[in-house]
Symmetry: C2
Subunit: 210 residues, 2 copies
Amino acid sequence: MRIGELSKVTEVPVPTIKYYLREGLLPAGELSSPNQASYGEPHVRRLRLIRALVELAQVPVAQVKDILESLDSDDVPLHEQIGRAHRALTPTRKQTATEEARIAATTQVTDLITRRGWTVEPEAPALATLIETVAAFRTLSQDNLVTLLDAYADAVDSFAALEIEAVTANPTRDQLAESVVIGTILGETLISSLRLLAQESTSAKHWKNR
Amino acid sequence: MRIGELSKVTEVPVPTIKYYLREGLLPAGELSSPNQASYGEPHVRRLRLIRALVELAQVPVAQVKDILESLDSDDVPLHEQIGRAHRALTPTRKQTATEEARIAATTQVTDLITRRGWTVEPEAPALATLIETVAAFRTLSQDNLVTLLDAYADAVDSFAALEIEAVTANPTRDQLAESVVIGTILGETLISSLRLLAQESTSAKHWKNR
DNA sequence: GTTTATGGATACTGATACTATCCATCACAG
DNA sequence: CTGTGATGGATAGTATCAGTATCCATAAAC
């Protein structure tokens, strides 16, 4: 398969494929001559994965590269794999809340983690975001919404357990790692759009009038 | 309060505040002379809200403008308010899955909605994303993860109910609308970071070895 | 044997979210 | 009442990101 056909089956424009090749997201095809390379099924799969991460999950190209590199090297432990996926989903964010709200939020989140017995590194990328978000709720005087934290945590805890179960059905380490990454990242998009649909429905029933 | 002080208390640079003024995200201060305006507490609150949406929730500035405009006009129905928040969270995404996966996904999602008795408009922004995401899971041969859809839907359904409860504690329509918007948008960031923490913890316990 | 496609390199583009610079006031310290 | 610094408003410039476009020499297809 040459680049034109690869483009046709994946519906990704040729210049974009070339761009991914340049950026090292997609491995080069096998060269038969200086300007003829052939691509195979793995390229199709990889390209679809790239597009799902970039288009659907809105993961920056540079992070996708990082994730794919760790998927390709089989000496990256699964836990680190997940760490990279998490970093792809949590950009470093500036602080938006007030100092006092942040202090209160830190306590609240720390308590939550202790109470649930979660094992979380203090440098976990999501930790700072969670604290900042709780602090933002407080700063914006939405303390009432913060009371839902435990309910959210319950749900999210059960997600993690279910996902592990679903994902460990995969026999090989490669497939497992890929599942974990896809589940982590696309799972986010899935849950998000599901939540919006549930909200839309509830809102339609509740406030059709106001 | 003049712009310098506004900048100091919110920690937003003056040029950025000017930019938000230009873009119409922040209402102009009251002019006492052609080059003296004074800002008040509402400006502080509004600016913090803008920063939370832009920095924390990564909502594009143009969408924030749209949301704030509808918050400010009291003739936008609450359901439409939510619709705008949803649109801010669901960029139009290109299709990344195969045609057959999309067909299967459409059926699956439609069934889910019917089964749960959700009221969803066919043009709901999240619907296309959900279908495309399910289709992506299938295309990437992660069908096993798709079986979790119902579990996710359960959780998400209960979120919506809880959120309504938490939010309707607000007496005035203005506060209610603001709560709904903040809850919808920052709630997403909250759930996301919580989920990542739960995963991190579960992953640490499960795969510390591999 | 001419038209079309390809690999590889380099340059350009459009969108987004700011930053920087100017300038004519304005406020206020001395 | 004058000099210093901040301000409002306008316009221009910048950085980053994710592609697009263009070239060219070569290879493939008809």
